[in-house]
């Protein structure tokens, strides 16, 4: 086995070259390059973590915004609802008032018209009575020759008219 057979003759050179090459590896690559690559990875990890954190924050802000927007929307809607409700009530009240007023007007008109009709009817009746009384007075005078006073004739006629 050359590893054992040659060990006495070659250990010096092997150790020398190993220490030299491994020393270069350690100082140039281990201490020089390795931490830089580590730094790159760490910086990237930090960047990713930061970005994720920022995204999370933005998400929270967006949620808050949406919530406030929703609340505002809700408020606006209820406000509008109230406004609609109020104007509706106001309009219906005004309509009611107008209706009542016109009803009163109509009733008044009807009442005057009825009173007028009544007055005219009674007037007409009086006319009929006086005419009938005169007719009755004339008829009595012509038929029986008896003289009937105007008042008695009127009284009789009224009674007759009343019975139909």
């Amino acid at each position: 086995m050359p590893q054992i057979d040659q060990i006495a003759a070659t250990y010096g050179s092997q150790i020398f070259w190993l220490l030299l090459t491994f020393g270069i590896t350690f100082f140039v690559i281990g201490l020089g390059m390795f931490p830089k690559i580590q730094g790159t990875v760490d910086a990237r990890d930090k960047r990713i973590a930061d970005d994720l954190e920022a995204a999370r924050k933005a998400n929270v802000t967006a949620d808050e915004l949406e919530e406030s927007y929703r609340v505002k929307m809700e408020n606006d809607r209820s406000e509008a609802q109230a406004l609609v409700e109020a104007s509706k009530a106001k309009a219906s009240a005004a309509a009611e008032k107008r209706k009542a007023k016109s009803n009163a007007d109509i009733a008044e008109k009807v009442a005057t018209a009825e009173a007028d009709i009544k007055a005219r009817a009674s007037e007409a009746l009086k006319e009929i009575e006086s005419v009938s009384a005169e007719v009755a007075q004339d008829m009595v005078a012509k038929i029986s020759g008896a003289k009937v006073t105007k008042a008695a004739a009127l009284k009789e006629t009224k009674a007759a008219l009343k019975h139909g």
Binding site: Y11, S13, W17, I29, F34, K36
Partner: protein, 260 residues
């Protein structure tokens, strides 16, 4: 690969060959060897790989994603095994993991097709031993620097009855001291065994084909099919062994960092 006529030596791949004589240091010849070249290839390949991940874009491309996958993997491992204090050891464990991973995988590449001689750096006990000792030293230094002599309480599990403490202490101390050896041997053995197995099977294919078409069909083709499966398995072992080395290192550092 063939050393003698008709004989294929599966151990030849582990031989360290001198390319350039180099210099002498404390009686040892520090030569530029194939092992050293493959270590450099590993480092350069790793550097190129990491360079692709250095664009530092916010949205990573494929290559950057791959590199960040590896760094994230080690980061998670340190975090899971040691906790927040583990971050400062991540560069070391990352270097360890990537160096072993690249050495293992590069040693498996079929560069022999191009006439090159593939060599797995981590199949040498010297290399895995040095890496294990490095990890173990870090554990010792961190442990004693952080907890002073209180570090020895690591060897006494919670709730040990008083008369048992000396025995438990010795057992735990031994298991602690065995750690660098098990760490080094595990990687060395896993790499060596797999490569020997592949070379032996490859030798079957060549030798049986040389012996005749009938042998080639009878022995060579099943061996080749087995090699394909074992190559996939070896690729897995290369990754798993690098992972195990890094994982155990992080567990040992956790002992030193947090005691129990």
């Amino acid at each position: 690969m063939a050393t003698e006529e008709g004989k294929i030596d599966p151990m030849y791949q582990f031989e360290v060959q001198t390319i350039f004589e180099g210099f002498s240091l404390g009686g040892q010849q520090i030569a530029l060897t194939n092992s050293a070249v493959w270590m450099m290839v590993s480092v350069v390949a790793l550097w190129l790989f990491m360079l692709g991940g250095m664009k530092r874009e916010l949205v990573p491309g494929r290559w950057q994603m791959m590199v960040e996958g590896f760094t994230g993997f080690i980061d998670n491992m340190m975090d899971a095994n040691i906790g927040p204090a583990g971050r400062k050891y991540a560069p070391y464990v990352f270097s360890l993991f990537m160096f072993i991973l690249f050495s293992n995988v590069l040693g498996l590449l079929p560069v022999g097709v191009l006439g090159l001689h593939p060599f797995t750096v981590t199949s040498h006990l010297t290399v895995t031993g040095v890496l294990a000792i490095l990890s173990f030293s870090i554990v010792l230094i961190v442990g004693f620097a952080k907890h002073k002599l209180h570090f020895f309480s690591l060897f006494i599990p919670d709730g040990t009855p008083l008369p048992m403490i000396p025995f438990i202490f010795i057992v735990e101390l031994l298991s602690f001291l065995v750690r660098p050896f098990s760490l080094a041997l595990r990687l060395f053995v896993a790499m060596t065994a797999g490569h020997i197995l592949l070379k032996v099977l490859a030798g079957f294919v060549i030798n049986s084909s040389n012996a005749g078409a009938g042998y080639g069909v009878l022995v060579g083709i099943p061996s080749f099919a087995l090699m394909i499966g074992i190559s996939a398995l070896e690729l897995l072992v290369a990754v798993v062994q690098a992972y195990v080395f890094a994982l155990l290192t992080s567990l040992y550092i956790n002992d030193a960092e947090n005691l129990h």
